[in-house]
């Protein structure tokens, strides 16, 4: 078993969870202390290996897959949290279908999956929800190893197969017609989330059972949020990254304070030392130090919010506004093919609200397709006079111009007016200058161009520019 625990720790590290050697030692001791009874064993590993709340769900998942799927267990302690889950036998599904048919739900009689879904969600019928998840999995037919790489797509297909969207639509109508209360509707949404999650779980289990440790490692790697590309994130992961960005911002802020304190007495100020020495007849008794002046840059953010880049821009805005006190002034702009300033929205305290308002109220899109050329033209003409030569301009975008004129001279104008221009590109570098990407044309006007497509790179880049 010890070997298994070690292997498990290795797997956790692959998924991006930090585990030190002493933690592994603790885990071994703890496991020996409580034995291998499933629930206690799970607790023992969890409380010694997981030190961040954010890592817990990932840990649960890998624990389940590694110790249960791989070793062929059936019970699922990580899943037990769901208090509402009734313990009665789930039945083999057939009778559930029958009971649904028996009641003759819907006008067409017979229980289509969508109707079953509505029934299960309304009743909070967990056995039925689980049955639906299995049905969804079965409807996928033969699953190949390659599909593991496209997990989200596969889950989506499975959802469609059981009439997910039809079901959701019906639920919404029911909510309208029967005046369902918010509390109940929230519970429905929870049941839906449970079903979706269950489908994903079943799929993962399937992969691990059929393709072994290798598949599990792939799952672990793809769960590593820090290295996942921004445009591949799903809604849940976006929430998760938001939390991590808040954390990152706090870390950056405190790190700064510490450095500043330490580095305060840096270079000797010769001029003042000599002058002081006059008082003691030329002997420099006390050394005078130059005060470190922290340079606070003025920051101007130009954020592309078209399509997949929007997520990245949002993260960046969140990060910058959380550490706002590190800058003398921050101004931000959103653009797709026109550009609008959103700085004022961030005067509010609640960042999430501010982001929401900025994104919904600003006027940044005319055609829906990025037009960097036009955006630079507008910016240079309208906003540039108000930007100081001390500013650092950061452009977030993929430089995909949709074959429109690049108008590079306006970017040049901007670059000449401000201290420096930095470009963060959330696309992989290999994709630059292919198709309609014209990074190469804009790059000469930027002091630096960074590839910035996952959390890890964002962290690195931010640390480098601060």
């Amino acid at each position: 078993m010890e070997e298994k625990i070690l292997e498990f720790c290795r797997l956790l590290r692959k998924s991006g969870i930090n585990i030190s050697f002493s933690q592994v030692a603790d885990a071994l001791k703890a496991a020996a202390e409580v034995g291998f009874l499933q629930e206690d064993f799970y607790c023992a590993l969890c409380c010694t290996l997981v030190k961040e709340r954010a890592d817990k769900s990932l840990f649960d998942k890998l624990f389940r897959l590694f110790f249960l799927s791989l070793q062929g267990g059936t019970n699922n302690p990580a899943n037990k949290e769901n208090g509402e889950e009734s313990e009665d036998a789930p039945g083999d599904g057939a009778e559930l279908v029958q009971s649904a048919e028996g009641k003759g739900m819907g006008k067409g009689g017979g229980a289509s999956p969508a109707l079953l879904l509505v029934k299960a969600v309304r009743e909070g019928n967990y056995p039925l929800l689980r049955f639906l998840a299995e049905l969804a999995l079965k409807s996928l037919g033969k699953i190949t190893r390659e599909q593991l790489a496209e997990m989200d797509k596969t889950v989506e297909r499975a959802k469609v197969a059981i009439g997910w969207y039809e079901g959701v639509n019906r639920l919404e109508r029911i909510k309208e017609m029967e005046k369902i209360s918010d509390a109940t509707y929230t519970r429905w949404l929870e049941h839906l989330a449970y079903l979706e999650n269950r489908i994903k779980e079943l799929l993962e289990e399937f992969f691990v059972k059929n393709f072994g440790l290798e598949a599990l490692e792939e799952i672990a790697l793809s769960a590593n949020l820090k290295e996942k590309e921004f445009h591949r994130l799903n809604q849940l992961e976006i929430e998760e990254i938001r939390k991590r960005i808040t954390k990152l911002a706090r870390k950056l802020a405190s790190k700064y304070a510490r450095r500043y304190r330490r580095a305060k007495r840096g270079e000797i100020d010769l001029r003042r030392t000599v002058r002081q020495a006059m008082l003691s007849g030329g002997t420099p008794i006390r050394l005078k130090y130059r005060k470190k002046v922290i340079s606070k840059p003025e920051l101007v953010l130009l954020c592309d919010v078209s399509g997949s880049v929007a997520v990245f821009s949002e993260f960046m805005l969140q990060l910058v506004y959380t550490i706002q006190n590190r800058f003398r002034a921050v101004r931000s702009f959103l653009f797709v093919d026109v550009i609008d300033e959103v700085t004022d929205y961030f005067l509010k305290q609640d960042l999430e609200e501010a982001l929401h308002e900025a994104f919904s109220k600003a006027y940044f899109s005319y055609s829906g397709f990025s037009d960097f050329g036009k955006v630079f033209t507008i910016f240079a003409n309208k906003y540039l006079p108000g930007v100081s030569p001390k500013s650092t301009v950061i452009i977030l975008g993929d430089a995909r111009n949709n074959w429109r004129p690049d108008e590079r001279e306006f970017l040049q104008k901007i670059a000449e007016r401000v201290r420096k221009v930095l470009w963060f590109n959330p696309q992989p570098q290999s994709g630059w200058d292919t198709e309609d990407s014209i990074m190469r044309i804009y790059a000469p006007y930027c002091r630096q161009v960074f590839e910035c497509r996952n959390l890890k790179q964002l962290e690195d880049v931010i640390e480098a520019i601060l």
């Binding site: 202390e33 629930e39 509390a183």
Partner: protein, 289 residues
């Protein structure tokens, strides 16, 4: 101390602290591995209470160190009793003692003012040391804690290293106001205390508000659990559920409706902005049976 997880859970329950098995397991492990226990979670879920109850259940003394910004070694660990040292020097002077002798005399345990941490290490019997709200302290203090937490010892320059006579049970609590360094987290067993489940909270209400009717208890706990899911500045804690239950019982109410909730909501929600957020929605948040 406790021979099994069940026993621990049982003992805690006897002290009116209800936990689920997972929590009990983690606490049990911290005791067995003699590691500090870092308890994180939202305000009012019973983190501090856990330490108090553990002291009660093990019949040991509770030494509490409340952390705050600016807390330093002098207030947490020890100070030299300056006045007493001065007096002593005065007497020494009258007795014409030499510098060497005087110096020997004034840095002895007699002149040491112990503060909570040192007290916990020097205690003749095992104690429970509660380091409350570590997240409020500064980073320097956090680094300073590391020696105590990993080796149960401290170094006092004038006296040398002091090792704990008995390894104390150490509980650290945090509301995650600030992130800790990895070093601190690595040294601890980690426990995340969340709001209780419906059944657990119901149990707590029955225990703490004796005489409450089942129907009312269920109704009010379900309501509290529902508003915890709303986005609030501060979600109601267990203590607030208890207060509310107590208030409703005192008012002789047997079933909650919108009017009653509106008039008592300030017991549950402590921020005006939260009240303003919830008030208009109350009718849709009342659970149906």
């Amino acid at each position: 101390m406790f021979s099994s997880i069940e026993e621990l859970q049982q003992k805690l329950a006897e002290c009116e602290y209800i936990t689920d098995r997972n929590v009990a397991t983690v606490v049990y492990l911290a005791l067995k591995l003699q590691k500090p226990l870092l308890v994180e979670g939202p305000a009012g879920v019973g983190k501090t209470e856990l330490a108090k109850v553990l002291a009660k259940a093990t019949k040991s003394r509770l030494i509490r160190l409340q952390c705050y910004e600016g807390l330093d070694e002098a207030k947490a660990l020890y100070e030299w009793n300056y006045q007493k040292q001065l007096l002593r020097l005065h007497i020494d002077q009258m007795q014409n003692k030499s510098w060497e002798e005087a110096k020997q005399d004034i840095f002895t345990p007699e002149f040491l003012l112990t503060r909570p941490l040192l007290e916990a290490l020097l205690a003749e019997v095992p104690v429970v040391l509660l380091i409350d709200e570590v997240d409020k302290s500064d980073e320097e203090f956090e680094s300073f804690l590391l020696e105590i937490l990993s080796d149960y010892q401290v170094t006092i320059p004038e006296l040398g290293t002091i090792k704990a006579l008995h390894i104390p049970i150490v509980i650290l609590t945090s509301n995650s106001f600030r992130e800790f360094g990895d070093a601190l987290k690595r040294r601890c067993i980690h426990l995340y205390l969340d709001y209780p489940t419906f059944e657990r909270e119901l149990d707590i209400i029955y225990l703490k508000v004796p005489g409450i009717k089942q129907a009312l208890a269920q109704q009010l706990v379900r309501f509290v659990q529902t508003i915890r899911k709303q986005k609030l500045k501060k979600a109601p804690s267990i203590a607030e559920t208890i207060d509310w239950a107590q208030a409703l019982l005192t008012l002789g109410i047997s079933s909650i409706d919108e009017e009653i909730i509106q008039s008592t909501i300030s017991i549950l929600l402590k921020y005006q902005s939260d009240i303003e957020k919830i008030s208009p929605k109350v009718s849709s948040l009342i659970p149906e049976h």
